[in-house]
Protein backbone atom coordinates (compact mmCIF):
# COMPACT_ATOMS: atom_id res chain seq x y z
CA UNK A 1 0.00 0.00 0.00
CA UNK A 2 2.80 2.35 1.01
CA UNK A 3 4.80 1.58 -2.12
CA UNK A 4 1.70 2.25 -4.25
CA UNK A 5 1.30 5.65 -2.58
CA UNK A 6 4.96 6.42 -3.26
CA UNK A 7 4.44 5.29 -6.84
CA UNK A 8 1.47 7.63 -7.23
CA UNK A 9 3.45 10.53 -5.76
CA UNK A 10 6.38 9.74 -8.07
CA UNK A 11 4.22 9.70 -11.19
CA UNK A 12 2.46 12.95 -10.16
CA UNK A 13 5.84 14.62 -9.68
CA UNK A 14 6.94 13.26 -13.07
CA UNK A 15 3.85 14.71 -14.75
CA UNK A 16 4.48 18.07 -13.05
CA UNK A 17 8.13 17.97 -14.19
CA UNK A 18 7.09 17.19 -17.80
CA UNK A 19 4.61 20.10 -17.76
CA UNK A 20 7.25 22.51 -16.44
CA UNK A 21 9.83 21.33 -19.01
CA UNK A 22 7.29 21.73 -21.84
CA UNK A 23 6.39 25.24 -20.67
CA UNK A 24 10.05 26.25 -20.45
CA UNK A 25 10.82 24.78 -23.88
CA UNK A 26 7.80 26.59 -25.29
CA UNK A 27 9.07 29.89 -23.91
CA UNK A 28 12.77 29.49 -24.81
CA UNK A 29 12.50 30.21 -28.57
CA UNK A 30 10.78 33.54 -27.85
CA UNK A 31 13.99 34.58 -26.05
CA UNK A 32 16.11 33.89 -29.12
CA UNK A 33 13.71 35.14 -31.78
CA UNK A 34 11.67 38.16 -30.81
CA UNK A 35 9.50 38.34 -33.92
CA UNK A 36 7.81 34.96 -33.77
CA UNK A 37 4.04 34.69 -33.29
CA UNK A 38 2.86 36.53 -30.17
CA UNK A 39 0.05 38.75 -28.86
CA UNK A 40 0.06 42.50 -29.40
CA UNK A 41 -2.01 45.15 -27.68
CA UNK A 42 -2.73 47.29 -30.72
CA UNK A 43 -2.34 47.45 -34.48
CA UNK A 44 0.06 50.38 -34.04
CA UNK A 45 2.33 48.19 -31.91
CA UNK A 46 2.37 45.53 -34.66
CA UNK A 47 3.26 48.11 -37.29
CA UNK A 48 6.00 49.68 -35.22
CA UNK A 49 7.60 46.46 -33.94
CA UNK A 50 7.29 44.24 -36.99
CA UNK A 51 7.34 46.95 -39.63
CA UNK A 52 4.64 45.30 -41.75
CA UNK A 53 3.76 48.06 -44.21
CA UNK A 54 1.19 46.09 -46.15
CA UNK A 55 -1.07 45.69 -43.10
CA UNK A 56 -4.55 47.04 -43.83
CA UNK A 57 -7.14 48.04 -41.25
CA UNK A 58 -10.86 48.40 -42.06
CA UNK A 59 -12.25 51.91 -41.80
CA UNK A 60 -15.78 50.58 -41.53
CA UNK A 61 -17.16 48.28 -38.85
CA UNK A 62 -20.78 47.35 -38.22
CA UNK A 63 -21.97 48.43 -34.77
CA UNK A 64 -22.46 44.82 -33.72
CA UNK A 65 -18.69 44.26 -33.69
CA UNK A 66 -16.48 45.28 -30.77
CA UNK A 67 -13.55 47.58 -31.39
CA UNK A 68 -10.62 47.18 -30.73
CA UNK A 69 -9.98 43.57 -31.75
CA UNK A 70 -10.18 41.11 -28.86
CA UNK A 71 -6.97 39.45 -30.04
CA UNK A 72 -4.15 40.64 -32.25
CA UNK A 73 -1.58 37.97 -33.07
CA UNK A 74 1.33 38.73 -35.33
CA UNK A 75 4.73 37.44 -36.42
CA UNK A 76 7.64 38.70 -38.52
CA UNK A 77 9.23 35.28 -39.03
CA UNK A 78 9.21 32.77 -40.68
CA UNK A 79 6.95 35.07 -42.73
CA UNK A 80 5.02 38.26 -41.86
CA UNK A 81 1.47 37.50 -40.74
CA UNK A 82 -1.20 39.24 -38.68
CA UNK A 83 -4.41 37.84 -37.28
CA UNK A 84 -7.16 40.08 -35.86
CA UNK A 85 -10.07 38.52 -34.00
CA UNK A 86 -13.25 40.52 -33.34
CA UNK A 87 -16.12 39.61 -31.05
CA UNK A 88 -19.81 40.33 -31.18
CA UNK A 89 -20.89 43.17 -28.85
CA UNK A 90 -23.88 41.24 -27.56
CA UNK A 91 -22.86 37.56 -27.53
CA UNK A 92 -19.10 38.09 -27.02
CA UNK A 93 -18.53 35.21 -29.49
CA UNK A 94 -15.91 35.43 -32.26
CA UNK A 95 -17.74 36.94 -35.22
CA UNK A 96 -15.08 38.40 -37.51
CA UNK A 97 -11.56 37.22 -38.28
CA UNK A 98 -9.12 39.08 -40.52
CA UNK A 99 -5.91 37.29 -41.44
CA UNK A 100 -3.15 38.83 -43.52
CA UNK A 101 0.09 37.06 -44.37
CA UNK A 102 2.61 36.30 -47.06
CA UNK A 103 2.10 32.53 -46.90
CA UNK A 104 -0.89 30.45 -47.88
CA UNK A 105 -0.07 28.22 -44.91
CA UNK A 106 -1.27 31.01 -42.63
CA UNK A 107 -4.99 30.84 -42.35
CA UNK A 108 -7.50 31.29 -39.60
CA UNK A 109 -10.39 29.49 -41.27
CA UNK A 110 -10.86 27.20 -38.29
CA UNK A 111 -11.76 30.15 -36.02
CA UNK A 112 -15.02 30.67 -37.93
CA UNK A 113 -15.45 27.22 -39.46
CA UNK A 114 -17.81 26.76 -42.37
CA UNK A 115 -20.10 23.75 -42.15
CA UNK A 116 -21.27 24.24 -45.72
CA UNK A 117 -20.26 26.50 -48.62
CA UNK A 118 -23.29 27.14 -50.83
CA UNK A 119 -21.72 29.64 -53.27
CA UNK A 120 -18.16 30.35 -54.28
CA UNK A 121 -17.84 33.10 -56.90
CA UNK A 122 -15.19 35.49 -58.25
CA UNK A 123 -15.75 39.00 -56.97
CA UNK A 124 -14.37 42.35 -58.15
CA UNK A 125 -13.16 44.14 -55.06
CA UNK A 126 -12.10 47.62 -56.15
CA UNK A 127 -10.12 46.30 -59.15
CA UNK A 128 -8.75 43.34 -57.16
CA UNK A 129 -9.76 39.82 -58.09
CA UNK A 130 -11.28 38.29 -54.95
CA UNK A 131 -13.14 35.09 -54.14
CA UNK A 132 -16.40 35.32 -52.25
CA UNK A 133 -17.74 32.28 -50.39
CA UNK A 134 -21.16 32.16 -48.83
CA UNK A 135 -22.48 29.39 -46.66
CA UNK A 136 -23.36 28.43 -43.14
CA UNK A 137 -21.49 27.88 -39.91
CA UNK A 138 -22.53 25.88 -36.85
CA UNK A 139 -26.24 26.09 -35.90
CA UNK A 140 -27.11 27.18 -39.47
CA UNK A 141 -25.70 30.65 -38.86
CA UNK A 142 -25.01 32.48 -42.14
CA UNK A 143 -21.27 32.84 -42.81
CA UNK A 144 -19.24 34.45 -45.56
CA UNK A 145 -15.62 34.72 -46.54
CA UNK A 146 -13.76 37.04 -48.89
CA UNK A 147 -10.14 36.48 -49.88
CA UNK A 148 -7.71 38.19 -52.23
CA UNK A 149 -4.00 38.59 -52.84
CA UNK A 150 -2.15 41.85 -53.32
CA UNK A 151 1.61 41.87 -53.96
CA UNK A 152 2.75 38.98 -51.75
CA UNK A 153 0.09 39.53 -49.15
CA UNK A 154 -2.96 37.31 -48.91
CA UNK A 155 -5.93 38.66 -46.99
CA UNK A 156 -8.82 36.50 -45.78
CA UNK A 157 -11.84 37.97 -44.01
CA UNK A 158 -14.34 35.59 -42.48
CA UNK A 159 -17.52 36.75 -40.80
CA UNK A 160 -20.56 35.20 -39.21
CA UNK A 161 -23.06 37.14 -41.31
CA UNK A 162 -24.42 37.38 -44.86
CA UNK A 163 -21.85 38.86 -47.30
CA UNK A 164 -23.17 42.45 -47.44
CA UNK A 165 -21.42 43.73 -44.30
CA UNK A 166 -18.35 41.67 -45.11
CA UNK A 167 -18.00 43.36 -48.52
CA UNK A 168 -18.33 46.80 -46.95
CA UNK A 169 -15.62 45.96 -44.39
CA UNK A 170 -13.33 44.66 -47.15
CA UNK A 171 -13.88 47.71 -49.34
CA UNK A 172 -13.10 50.00 -46.42
CA UNK A 173 -9.72 48.26 -46.08
CA UNK A 174 -8.79 49.33 -49.60
CA UNK A 175 -9.72 53.00 -49.41
Amino acid sequence: MRSKAYGLLYILLSVAAVLVVLKVFNWLPTMFQKDMMRRYNSVDEVQSKLNIRELRIPAYFPQSIMWPPSEILAQGKPYPAVLMIFKDVRTKAITLVISQGTSDAFSANTLVPFVQVTRKVPFDLKTRKAILEVGSCKDDEPCSRLSWSEKNFRTVITMKSPPFELIRIAESMLE
Binding site: L8, Y10, L19, L22, F25, N109, P113
Partner: protein
Amino acid sequence: MSISTFFGSLAGMYVAQSFCHSLVASVLMDQALRAWNVNDPAIKQRFRLTVVLYPIFSFPFYQAINPARGNALFRLNALFDFNRWLNMNLWGGVSFGHLFLIVLAITSLIFLFQEMIPILRHTLESRTMEHEGASREPDPFIESASRALSIDTPRILIAEDDELHIFSTTGKNAIIVVSTGLAETLTPDEMHAALAHEIAHIARGRRPLVLAAFFLRMILFFNPVALVEFRRVVRNEEKICDDIAVSLTHRPEALAEALKKFYAVSETPEPDVKPKPLFTPVPLEEYSYNIQLDGRIERLVQDPQRSTGGQWFLLASVFLIVACINYFIV
Protein backbone atom coordinates in the same frame (compact mmCIF):
# COMPACT_ATOMS: atom_id res chain seq x y z
CA MET B 1 8.38 24.32 -50.39
CA SER B 2 9.87 26.10 -47.38
CA ILE B 3 10.34 24.48 -43.99
CA SER B 4 7.63 26.64 -42.41
CA THR B 5 5.18 25.77 -45.21
CA PHE B 6 5.88 22.04 -44.79
CA PHE B 7 5.46 22.06 -41.02
CA GLY B 8 2.32 24.19 -41.43
CA SER B 9 0.75 21.55 -43.70
CA LEU B 10 -1.20 18.55 -42.39
CA ALA B 11 1.62 16.15 -43.33
CA GLY B 12 4.19 18.33 -41.59
CA MET B 13 2.02 18.69 -38.50
CA TYR B 14 1.58 14.90 -38.41
CA VAL B 15 5.34 14.35 -38.57
CA ALA B 16 6.15 16.97 -35.92
CA GLN B 17 3.32 16.18 -33.53
CA SER B 18 3.66 12.40 -33.70
CA PHE B 19 7.31 12.86 -32.69
CA CYS B 20 6.41 15.11 -29.73
CA HIS B 21 3.53 12.87 -28.68
CA SER B 22 5.68 9.74 -28.71
CA LEU B 23 8.43 11.50 -26.76
CA VAL B 24 6.04 12.59 -23.99
CA ALA B 25 4.42 9.12 -23.96
CA SER B 26 7.82 7.45 -23.75
CA VAL B 27 9.00 9.61 -20.83
CA LEU B 28 5.80 9.19 -18.80
CA MET B 29 5.41 5.47 -19.51
CA ASP B 30 9.03 4.96 -18.41
CA GLN B 31 8.39 6.91 -15.23
CA ALA B 32 5.23 4.89 -14.55
CA LEU B 33 7.14 1.61 -14.93
CA ARG B 34 9.74 2.95 -12.51
CA ALA B 35 7.16 4.35 -10.09
CA TRP B 36 5.38 1.03 -9.67
CA ASN B 37 8.53 -1.04 -10.02
CA VAL B 38 7.07 -3.10 -12.87
CA ASN B 39 9.37 -6.02 -13.71
CA ASP B 40 7.02 -8.24 -15.67
CA PRO B 41 8.15 -8.07 -19.33
CA ALA B 42 4.60 -8.74 -20.56
CA ILE B 43 3.34 -5.64 -18.73
CA LYS B 44 6.35 -3.63 -19.88
CA GLN B 45 5.65 -4.69 -23.45
CA ARG B 46 2.08 -3.34 -23.23
CA PHE B 47 3.41 0.02 -22.05
CA ARG B 48 6.00 0.11 -24.83
CA LEU B 49 3.46 -0.91 -27.47
CA THR B 50 1.28 1.98 -26.33
CA VAL B 51 4.18 4.35 -26.97
CA VAL B 52 4.72 2.84 -30.44
CA LEU B 53 1.08 2.74 -31.54
CA TYR B 54 -0.58 5.73 -29.88
CA PRO B 55 1.26 8.49 -31.85
CA ILE B 56 0.08 6.93 -35.12
CA PHE B 57 -3.47 7.94 -34.25
CA SER B 58 -3.04 10.85 -31.84
CA PHE B 59 -2.79 13.70 -34.36
CA PRO B 60 -5.73 12.64 -36.59
CA PHE B 61 -7.83 11.94 -33.51
CA TYR B 62 -7.14 15.33 -31.92
CA GLN B 63 -7.75 17.12 -35.24
CA ALA B 64 -11.04 15.27 -35.65
CA ILE B 65 -12.33 16.36 -32.26
CA ASN B 66 -11.02 19.92 -32.69
CA PRO B 67 -10.06 21.07 -36.21
CA ALA B 68 -9.06 24.45 -34.71
CA ARG B 69 -6.01 22.86 -33.03
CA GLY B 70 -3.82 23.94 -35.94
CA ASN B 71 -4.67 27.63 -35.88
CA ALA B 72 -2.50 30.43 -34.54
CA LEU B 73 -4.69 31.13 -31.50
CA PHE B 74 -4.61 27.52 -30.28
CA ARG B 75 -0.87 27.35 -30.89
CA LEU B 76 -0.30 30.52 -28.90
CA ASN B 77 -2.19 29.10 -25.90
CA ALA B 78 -0.73 25.60 -26.27
CA LEU B 79 1.43 23.90 -23.68
CA PHE B 80 4.13 23.42 -26.29
CA ASP B 81 4.23 24.60 -29.88
CA PHE B 82 6.96 22.65 -31.70
CA ASN B 83 6.75 25.02 -34.69
CA ARG B 84 8.42 27.69 -32.56
CA TRP B 85 11.54 25.52 -32.55
CA LEU B 86 11.19 24.29 -36.11
CA ASN B 87 10.93 27.83 -37.51
CA MET B 88 13.76 29.17 -35.35
CA ASN B 89 16.63 30.43 -37.43
CA LEU B 90 19.99 29.01 -36.31
CA TRP B 91 22.45 30.54 -38.78
CA GLY B 92 22.19 31.80 -42.34
CA GLY B 93 19.17 30.18 -43.92
CA VAL B 94 19.37 27.07 -41.72
CA SER B 95 16.58 26.61 -39.20
CA PHE B 96 16.07 24.08 -36.43
CA GLY B 97 13.51 22.49 -38.76
CA HIS B 98 16.31 21.56 -41.20
CA LEU B 99 18.18 19.74 -38.41
CA PHE B 100 14.97 17.97 -37.41
CA LEU B 101 14.47 16.81 -41.00
CA ILE B 102 18.03 15.40 -41.01
CA VAL B 103 17.25 13.43 -37.83
CA LEU B 104 14.08 12.09 -39.48
CA ALA B 105 16.03 11.12 -42.62
CA ILE B 106 18.68 9.25 -40.57
CA THR B 107 15.95 7.45 -38.62
CA SER B 108 14.24 6.47 -41.88
CA LEU B 109 17.51 5.03 -43.22
CA ILE B 110 18.11 3.07 -40.01
CA PHE B 111 14.57 1.72 -40.24
CA LEU B 112 15.09 0.75 -43.88
CA PHE B 113 18.44 -0.98 -43.49
CA GLN B 114 18.12 -2.46 -39.99
CA GLU B 115 14.44 -3.41 -39.91
CA MET B 116 12.64 -3.32 -43.25
CA ILE B 117 15.20 -4.95 -45.56
CA PRO B 118 16.33 -7.68 -43.07
CA ILE B 119 12.70 -8.59 -42.30
CA LEU B 120 11.77 -8.74 -45.99
CA ARG B 121 14.87 -10.83 -46.73
CA HIS B 122 14.13 -13.17 -43.80
CA THR B 123 10.50 -13.56 -44.91
CA LEU B 124 11.48 -14.35 -48.49
CA GLU B 125 14.25 -16.74 -47.41
CA SER B 126 12.07 -18.61 -44.93
CA ARG B 127 9.48 -19.15 -47.67
CA THR B 128 11.92 -20.53 -50.18
CA MET B 129 14.57 -22.13 -47.95
CA GLU B 130 14.58 -25.86 -47.30
CA HIS B 131 15.92 -26.47 -43.82
CA GLU B 132 18.50 -29.21 -43.94
CA GLY B 133 19.64 -31.39 -41.11
CA ALA B 134 19.02 -34.62 -39.28
CA SER B 135 15.84 -34.89 -37.27
CA ARG B 136 16.37 -35.11 -33.54
CA GLU B 137 14.94 -38.10 -31.69
CA PRO B 138 11.44 -37.52 -30.26
CA ASP B 139 11.72 -35.93 -26.83
CA PRO B 140 8.91 -36.30 -24.24
CA PHE B 141 9.80 -32.86 -22.85
CA ILE B 142 9.20 -31.17 -26.21
CA GLU B 143 5.86 -32.95 -26.55
CA SER B 144 4.69 -31.97 -23.06
CA ALA B 145 5.91 -28.37 -23.49
CA SER B 146 4.08 -28.07 -26.81
CA ARG B 147 0.93 -29.52 -25.25
CA ALA B 148 1.17 -27.04 -22.37
CA LEU B 149 1.27 -24.15 -24.86
CA SER B 150 -1.45 -25.70 -27.05
CA ILE B 151 0.66 -26.01 -30.19
CA ASP B 152 1.60 -28.94 -32.42
CA THR B 153 4.95 -30.46 -31.52
CA PRO B 154 7.54 -28.78 -33.75
CA ARG B 155 10.14 -30.79 -35.70
CA ILE B 156 13.67 -30.37 -34.42
CA LEU B 157 16.51 -30.45 -36.92
CA ILE B 158 20.21 -30.70 -36.12
CA ALA B 159 22.26 -28.66 -38.60
CA GLU B 160 25.97 -29.30 -39.15
CA ASP B 161 27.57 -26.12 -37.86
CA ASP B 162 30.23 -25.51 -35.20
CA GLU B 163 28.75 -22.11 -34.31
CA LEU B 164 26.18 -21.86 -31.51
CA HIS B 165 22.81 -21.40 -33.21
CA ILE B 166 19.23 -22.10 -32.40
CA PHE B 167 16.25 -20.62 -34.18
CA SER B 168 12.68 -21.45 -35.00
CA THR B 169 10.35 -20.86 -37.91
CA THR B 170 6.70 -20.12 -37.34
CA GLY B 171 3.77 -21.02 -39.56
CA LYS B 172 1.79 -24.24 -39.88
CA ASN B 173 4.77 -26.61 -39.72
CA ALA B 174 7.05 -24.97 -37.22
CA ILE B 175 10.65 -26.15 -37.07
CA ILE B 176 13.39 -25.59 -34.53
CA VAL B 177 16.90 -25.74 -35.97
CA VAL B 178 19.79 -26.45 -33.59
CA SER B 179 23.42 -26.38 -34.64
CA THR B 180 25.68 -29.33 -33.78
CA GLY B 181 27.97 -26.83 -32.04
CA LEU B 182 25.16 -25.90 -29.69
CA ALA B 183 24.02 -29.49 -29.18
CA GLU B 184 27.56 -30.41 -28.09
CA THR B 185 28.00 -27.35 -25.85
CA LEU B 186 24.76 -27.39 -23.85
CA THR B 187 23.90 -29.90 -21.11
CA PRO B 188 20.54 -31.71 -21.51
CA ASP B 189 18.85 -29.33 -19.02
CA GLU B 190 20.24 -26.29 -20.81
CA MET B 191 19.15 -27.71 -24.17
CA HIS B 192 15.62 -28.21 -22.82
CA ALA B 193 15.61 -24.62 -21.59
CA ALA B 194 16.78 -23.33 -24.99
CA LEU B 195 14.20 -25.46 -26.82
CA ALA B 196 11.46 -24.30 -24.42
CA HIS B 197 12.38 -20.71 -25.27
CA GLU B 198 11.96 -21.44 -28.99
CA ILE B 199 8.68 -23.27 -28.37
CA ALA B 200 7.50 -20.14 -26.55
CA HIS B 201 8.38 -18.08 -29.65
CA ILE B 202 6.38 -20.48 -31.84
CA ALA B 203 3.40 -20.35 -29.47
CA ARG B 204 3.48 -16.54 -29.33
CA GLY B 205 3.87 -16.44 -33.10
CA ARG B 206 0.30 -17.73 -33.27
CA ARG B 207 -0.80 -14.46 -31.64
CA PRO B 208 1.21 -12.14 -33.84
CA LEU B 209 0.90 -9.02 -31.68
CA VAL B 210 4.46 -7.91 -32.33
CA LEU B 211 4.05 -8.53 -36.07
CA ALA B 212 0.84 -6.48 -36.18
CA ALA B 213 2.57 -3.75 -34.17
CA PHE B 214 5.44 -3.80 -36.66
CA PHE B 215 3.12 -3.29 -39.64
CA LEU B 216 1.42 -0.36 -37.90
CA ARG B 217 4.74 0.99 -36.66
CA MET B 218 5.94 1.22 -40.28
CA ILE B 219 3.72 4.33 -40.60
CA LEU B 220 6.08 6.05 -38.15
CA PHE B 221 9.24 4.92 -39.97
CA PHE B 222 10.67 8.45 -39.59
CA ASN B 223 10.13 8.68 -35.83
CA PRO B 224 13.28 8.05 -33.73
CA VAL B 225 11.27 7.51 -30.54
CA ALA B 226 9.13 4.84 -32.21
CA LEU B 227 12.33 3.18 -33.49
CA VAL B 228 13.83 2.91 -30.00
CA GLU B 229 10.55 1.87 -28.37
CA PHE B 230 9.89 -0.86 -30.93
CA ARG B 231 13.32 -2.33 -30.23
CA ARG B 232 12.41 -2.37 -26.54
CA VAL B 233 9.19 -4.22 -27.46
CA VAL B 234 11.24 -6.85 -29.27
CA ARG B 235 13.60 -7.17 -26.28
CA ASN B 236 10.60 -7.63 -24.00
CA GLU B 237 9.43 -10.41 -26.33
CA GLU B 238 12.67 -12.29 -25.61
CA LYS B 239 12.17 -11.88 -21.87
CA ILE B 240 8.55 -13.02 -22.12
CA CYS B 241 9.73 -16.18 -23.92
CA ASP B 242 12.39 -16.65 -21.20
CA ASP B 243 9.63 -16.56 -18.58
CA ILE B 244 7.52 -19.07 -20.51
CA ALA B 245 10.57 -21.32 -20.87
CA VAL B 246 11.20 -21.16 -17.12
CA SER B 247 7.53 -21.94 -16.43
CA LEU B 248 7.92 -25.07 -18.60
CA THR B 249 11.29 -26.26 -17.24
CA HIS B 250 11.14 -24.85 -13.69
CA ARG B 251 14.89 -24.37 -14.08
CA PRO B 252 15.76 -20.68 -14.53
CA GLU B 253 19.42 -21.43 -13.84
CA ALA B 254 19.53 -23.83 -16.84
CA LEU B 255 18.35 -21.10 -19.23
CA ALA B 256 20.72 -18.62 -17.59
CA GLU B 257 23.64 -21.02 -18.12
CA ALA B 258 22.64 -21.58 -21.75
CA LEU B 259 22.53 -17.81 -22.32
CA LYS B 260 25.91 -17.43 -20.60
CA LYS B 261 27.40 -19.80 -23.16
CA PHE B 262 26.03 -17.59 -25.97
CA TYR B 263 27.35 -14.55 -24.13
CA ALA B 264 30.79 -16.13 -23.72
CA VAL B 265 30.96 -16.85 -27.45
CA SER B 266 29.95 -13.32 -28.43
CA GLU B 267 32.59 -11.93 -26.03
CA THR B 268 35.44 -14.23 -27.20
CA PRO B 269 37.57 -12.68 -29.97
CA GLU B 270 38.17 -14.85 -33.01
CA PRO B 271 41.73 -16.26 -32.81
CA ASP B 272 42.80 -15.39 -36.35
CA VAL B 273 41.58 -11.80 -36.15
CA LYS B 274 44.05 -9.10 -35.18
CA PRO B 275 43.25 -7.38 -31.87
CA LYS B 276 41.20 -4.24 -32.37
CA PRO B 277 42.70 -0.87 -31.49
CA LEU B 278 41.65 0.34 -28.06
CA PHE B 279 39.25 3.03 -29.26
CA THR B 280 37.59 1.13 -32.10
CA PRO B 281 33.90 1.23 -31.22
CA VAL B 282 32.13 -2.09 -30.76
CA PRO B 283 29.49 -2.43 -33.51
CA LEU B 284 26.20 -1.09 -32.18
CA GLU B 285 24.23 -4.23 -32.97
CA GLU B 286 26.76 -6.44 -31.18
CA TYR B 287 26.92 -4.11 -28.17
CA SER B 288 23.13 -4.01 -27.95
CA TYR B 289 22.92 -7.83 -28.26
CA ASN B 290 25.44 -8.32 -25.45
CA ILE B 291 23.68 -5.84 -23.17
CA GLN B 292 20.42 -7.65 -23.85
CA LEU B 293 21.88 -11.08 -23.06
CA ASP B 294 23.48 -9.69 -19.93
CA GLY B 295 20.15 -8.26 -18.77
CA ARG B 296 18.30 -11.50 -19.50
CA ILE B 297 20.83 -13.59 -17.57
CA GLU B 298 20.70 -11.18 -14.63
CA ARG B 299 16.92 -11.32 -14.29
CA LEU B 300 16.86 -15.13 -14.61
CA VAL B 301 19.44 -15.44 -11.82
CA GLN B 302 17.61 -12.91 -9.64
CA ASP B 303 14.21 -14.56 -10.31
CA PRO B 304 12.21 -11.31 -10.37
CA GLN B 305 8.81 -11.03 -8.74
CA ARG B 306 5.96 -11.48 -11.17
CA SER B 307 3.15 -8.99 -11.60
CA THR B 308 0.39 -9.01 -9.00
CA GLY B 309 -2.28 -7.64 -11.35
CA GLY B 310 -4.00 -4.26 -11.54
CA GLN B 311 -1.56 -3.14 -14.23
CA TRP B 312 -4.30 -2.49 -16.79
CA PHE B 313 -5.64 0.24 -14.50
CA LEU B 314 -2.15 1.70 -14.19
CA LEU B 315 -1.64 1.61 -17.97
CA ALA B 316 -5.05 3.21 -18.62
CA SER B 317 -4.40 5.96 -16.05
CA VAL B 318 -1.01 6.89 -17.45
CA PHE B 319 -2.35 6.70 -21.00
CA LEU B 320 -5.15 9.15 -20.12
CA ILE B 321 -2.63 11.57 -18.60
CA VAL B 322 -0.43 11.28 -21.71
CA ALA B 323 -3.41 11.79 -24.04
CA CYS B 324 -4.56 14.89 -22.12
CA ILE B 325 -1.11 16.47 -22.11
CA ASN B 326 -0.50 15.72 -25.79
CA TYR B 327 -3.77 17.37 -26.80
CA PHE B 328 -2.11 20.66 -25.89
CA ILE B 329 1.13 19.87 -27.73
CA VAL B 330 1.03 21.12 -31.32
